[in-house]
């Protein structure tokens, strides 16, 4: 972005902030008004990306500390700093370390090849294999990393397919889509999930690792299957059989075994939280403890762990906290007359809003902006919060919607229309599935 535009958006956000801070809004107390000002500033900065997203997060925390904290019943600015090291941040940090360990020792590709070896030669099965493995990996590592790995694995195969065969496009396209969908399934799959978990925790609803998977995994699986069918229909493979070769499996040394065992123990620790009662965030420290004390990862790895993502999330969590404690959420609900709306309309409205927003701005910032707004509704809002988090992963339309899409697009083999036409259908299917789960299945099962 040109410097002129950056200055324009920063000035605009500052002006909006000042304007709302000093505007007398009837029926709104100071804390809520100042929070609204910070919220609008965050909206402008996160949408425009005039300054880096993570720096905007720090600005948000600073403004909340200065302008909102003093007007709260218990004036303590530290409640806006604590989110930066909250349990979900720690959980994510652990996930980053785990992923780094897998990647550094090439175990992600070992895992991918091991599964792909079994899929056979039928195009539909190969497509399913790639989608399944991508989604599986992106449950535990970042969507971007999973996409990059799987496209690297798929590229020789894609290039070997006849240029006129639509399967080429289908295979390339299925990878970012599966990575985006796979991220929905675990708390560490993608930051929006963590934002929802933290918001619910603040509202007194605890969702542990296994519970999140119980809520989100079925929806993810259904979405994956539907996306698979869609890609098979839109990009009907012409070949009957494809053979592809994978790198020969390398022999695992003791370090690789340590990393694998750590992965297994950590995941097991997350899934059995209700028995041992050690919080997920603390279990997440195990990989760091093992990898760094045994010298499997080094300081350089630690320093490049994605702190920008964590800081961005921290700002989002702080904003969410402020919206809740200042009463802004309640004010929005009552003053905008949303109280009287039927819950179904609200649900549909928020999910649509999230899907539209997330296709134009970062998934994390869209969740950080919308989740707090949904917290003001009494009754049944829990499924809405989770629904919004899942919807934030539905960035399927454009190359710039999310880095996995961009990576696939960087191959030069895709056209924007391929991604857009397919992506819009996947997004609509995602909306449908989220609505079905959020309005019917989750409430029926009483899981949130």
């Amino acid at each position: 972005m040109k410097l002129g535009w950056r200055i324009f958006f920063v000035t605009l956000s500052a002006a909006a902030f000042a304007g709302i801070c000093f505007a007398p809004i009837p029926g709104m107390d100071t804390a809520a008004r100042h929070t609204l000002a910070v919220f609008v500033l965050a909206l402008i900065l996160w949408v425009s990306e005039a300054i880096p997203l993570y720096i905007a997060s720090l600005v948000i925390a600073a403004l909340l500390s200065i302008f909102v904290a003093q007007h709260l019943p218990v004036a303590d600015y530290k409640i806006f700093l604590a989110p930066f090291f909250s349990p979900v941040i720690l959980l994510f940090l652990g996930g980053f370390v785990l992923a780094r360990g897998l990647e550094s020792y090439g175990l992600d590709s070992v895992l991918a090849s091991a599964i792909l070896r079994k899929v056979g030669k039928k195009p539909a099965a190969i497509l399913a294999g790639f989608m399944g493995v991508t989604a599986l990996l992106s449950m535990w590592m970042s969507n971007t990393a999973a996409t990059a790995l799987m496209i690297a694995v798929a590229l020789p195969l894609i290039r070997s397919i006849d240029e006129k065969d639509p399967m080429r496009i289908g295979l390339l396209l299925c990878i970012p889509f599966s990575a985006n969908l796979g991220g929905m399934a675990t708390p560490i799959g993608t930051p929006p999930n963590a934002i929802a978990i933290a918001a619910l925790r603040d509202a007194g609803v605890q969702i542990n690792f296994l519970e999140w998977m119980g809520i989100a995994l079925p929806a993810t699986l259904i979405l994956l299957v539907l996306a698979w069918i869609l890609i098979l229909i839109l990009f009907r493979p012409k070949t009957k059989a494809l053979s592809f070769s994978l790198h020969k499996a390398k022999k695992l040394g003791w370090k690789e075994w340590v990393v694998l065992t750590t992965l297994l123990v950590t995941v097991l620790g997350w899934l059995t939280g209700r028995f041992h009662r050690i919080p997920d965030a603390i279990v997440a420290l195990l990989p760091a403890l093992i990898f760094f004390s045994l010298g499997l990862l080094r300081r350089k790895d630690f320093r490049s762990l994605g702190w920008d993502v964590l800081i961005l999330m921290g700002g989002g969590l702080a904003l969410g906290k402020a919206v809740a404690v200042s009463g802004l959420d309640k004010w929005l609900v009552t003053s905008l007359g949303m109280e009287g709306l039927p819950p179904v309309a609200l649900f549909v409205g928020f999910i649509l809003l999230t899907v539209v927003l997330t296709n134009f701005i970062s998934n994390t910032s869209s969740a950080a902006l919308i989740v707090p707004l949904t917290m003001g509704f009494a009754g049944g809002s829990n499924s809405l919060v989770v629904g919004v988090a899942l919807a934030a992963s539905a960035s399927m339309l454009l190359p710039v919607s999310t880095p996995p899409n961009a990576i696939a697009f960087g191959s030069g083999l895709l056209k924007v229309k391929h991604m857009f036409r397919t992506g819009i259908i996947v997004a609509v299917i995602a909306i449908g599935v989220i609505l079905m789960f959020g309005l019917v299945i989750w409430p029926r099962l009483g899981i949130i």
């Binding site: 972005m1 990306e49 880096p52 997203l53 993570y54 994510f92 996930g95 980053f96 992923a99 780094r100 990647e103 992600d108 590592m141 970042s142 969507n143 971007t144 990393a145 999973a146 996409t147 990059a148 790995l149 496209i151 690297a152 590229l155 930051p191 080094r298 350089k300 490049s304 762990l305 994605g306 920008d308 993502v309 961005l312 134009f360 701005i361 970062s362 998934n363 994390t364 190359p399 710039v400 919607s401 999310t402 880095p403 899409n405 961009a406 990576i407 697009f409 960087g410 191959s411 030069g412």
Partner: protein, 113 residues
């Protein structure tokens, strides 16, 4: 001056023919030792942040695997999308720029100020 381009010359024999010896070592950044092809003298060492080959897309996939280390912003996505193109144009721009006679240290000082 937004950027400068300098062709490395051998400090001993002033030759412009050099060889790049790429040293890869686990746990360390990749280092490139530049050796004079004429007389074998040490010319310079570069420490790489990232290696990009003549197949930029494959290089992009390699370093994008470093999970979690990149923020999922739109500007980042744009960077990834235009990665190969950018290298192409930057290479062209670099080769077409007038070459400076300054020492590399001097250019670095000048531009970082």
């Amino acid at each position: 001056m937004s950027f400068a381009v300098k062709i490395e010359t051998c400090p001993q024999c002033r030759s412009r023919k050099t060889e790049n010896l790429v040293r890869v070592e686990p746990g360390c950044p990749v280092r490139v030792y530049v050796r004079c092809s004429e007389c074998g003298a040490f010319v310079a060492r570069y420490t790489l942040e990232r290696y990009t080959s003549d197949k930029p897309y494959e290089s992009l996939l390699k370093f994008s695997r470093r999970g979690g280390c990149s923020i999922a912003s739109r500007s980042h996505a744009q960077e990834l999308e235009g990665f190969s193109k950018k290298i192409e144009t930057e290479f062209k721009e670099t080769t077409e720029a007038p070459f400076t006679e300054l020492k590399v240290e001097e250019i670095i000082c000048e531009l970082k100020r």
